[in-house]
């Protein structure tokens, strides 16, 4: 019989590391320094990025300990994670979703194949809805990059 609380604690799943990004990240307003609600939006990626969002919620990363939570709906989100290069069938739904997010809000874009002209469309779409595209994660290596960008934005340090 396993006593699961002790089993989990003794495993020490959570990584002991500080997540910081070297990418250019616009700082978030001080309102978001201590906690952040994040909502991921699949813009048409291959599903690998969606899987990495699942991985981000696992004990290795344990985002709650650094004040990052996942919102259940866009209406509860502070930051949108835009996953993949936006495809045409989803543009209308994306515009509607962006206008549901309470202001102020931010967006972080992870293009799956490298940024291209879709970045211009996304920046405009986010700004038209009253938000700000604070970072584009390229190159993308894994969930540690997402945590690094979010923590850098929360701490208000602008890394160039």
């Amino acid at each position: 019989m396993n006593w699961w609380p002790m089993r989990g604690l003794t495993r020490r799943f959570t990584e002991r590391r500080t997540y910081v990004s070297n990418l250019p990240v616009k700082p978030l307003p001080s309102l978001f320094r201590r906690s952040l609600f994040v909502y991921p939006i699949d813009l048409g990626n291959s599903n690998a990025l969606n899987m990495d969002i699942s991985a981000l919620k696992t004990p290795h990363y344990n985002p709650h300990r650094v004040g990052i939570f996942f919102a259940a709906t866009p209406r509860q989100a502070d930051v949108l994670l835009l996953l993949g290069t936006p495809i045409a069938p989803l543009r209308e739904a994306l515009t509607a979703t962006l206008h549901q997010v309470p202001r102020p809000f931010a967006a972080v874009w992870i293009p799956e194949e490298g940024p291209d002209e879709e970045g211009i469309y996304l920046t405009k779409a986010v700004e038209d809805a009253g938000g700000s595209l604070i970072a584009t994660i390229v190159p993308y290596r894994g969930p540690e990059d997402i945590l690094g960008v979010l923590r850098t934005a929360m701490n208000g340090r602008f890394a160039s």
């Binding site: 699949d42 048409g44 599903n47 690998a48 699942s54 696992t58 069938p89 739904a93 490298g114």
Partner: protein, 433 residues
Amino acid sequence: MKRLLGLIDAFGSPGTTAHRLLIQDGFEIRLTPAATGETDLLLSTLLRERNERVGNGSATGEGVFDFRYGPFTGGLGETGLLHLATYGEKILGVEIDLSVKHRGIESSIEGLPPETALRKAEQVCGNFGFSHAHSLAIALEELLHVGLPLRERQLAVVALELERLYNHLHVIMRLAEAAAQKVLAAHLGALFERALRVNRAFSGSRYLLGVRRIGSLALFPQLSGSAILEELEEIGREFETLFASSLSSRNYLDRLHNIAIVPDSLAKTRSLTGPSLRACGIEDDLRRHDPLYREFVPVARSEGDSLARMEVRAEEILSSLKIIEGQREVLSSITPRQGSAVGESRHAQKATTKSENPRQESAAEAAVGAVEGPSGVIAWAVGLDSGLVRRAYVSTPSLFGYQVFAESLTGHIFTDFPFALDSFGLSFADAAR
């Protein structure tokens, strides 16, 4: 699966036997004698019967309305759009709209050189990426008369099983989350992340992307083979303990038992493949035909419900670990290497004009490659013209899986929805291409 189709013409020339299958618009495919007759017919069925409409029709009646679920809904884990016909609690009909995630990958592959086509094929579904690339590569290698050396074939087996491992862990984790088994889900999540890190340690990519090349594998191991095997053994021991413990939770089992039952007759007529098919008692698995899978016995259950699908995946996790262990000798030979498979794949994507490495083409117009992916058979049919892809056509397990899901969900209530959907292990990206 054994169905004779009117479009199959058998013809022969001295010393060869071949089937010709007309897919669409004059795209002819000749299935070579490399596979057994049973596999020929399976592939014919999967390629021919790929249809674009998924669902069992919308129901009508007093108070029945269309509950539109998606596209950006948190519950699916991916962008997708379902139309559920309901009067409030019971689901009377399911229609799935795949157009919201259609990216036109097959048409984007046309005109590309083979190496770049492989990178595009991975994008059909990233978490089945290696299976897609491997399946397309098999077909392209046949057309180009390029063989994959034995060592690379053995490493490809390892990669396929690693892909199966993390996908199955993810499915069982999702089911545990849906059943509010938070401790189990957290521990499974930890194993899922460890499996992804093993992928990176083995190949340089968390999702084994950029690995499969024409005639070779591009591995950038970050750990030695023996360290990787040690980590996999540890994952196996942990998972066995977790799985055994989960079976003692009546609450958890009760949420899965008798949910989305798929009779074997439905599975056969809808061309279902993979763990969902084997959960119906049909022990079909393409790996049985591969000599590198020595003494392979498919895992099967007979109940056809979500619990059976979960149990099949759990046992396949342990089976995959044994298969990888069986390749210990070749794995032990790999040593850490600098670089990144994904980085190299981006370089390959830039070569979009002439083929960088022209090879002699086969006289055959097209070829078919197929593998047993984590959620079922992935089959690519491809034709070449002057070294570039002329036409590409893929049959994915999710397309058939969603049809079976739609039919098996009808009659259930909304609370059963996640247990039905997640147990099939499907992807909208995979179905919509």
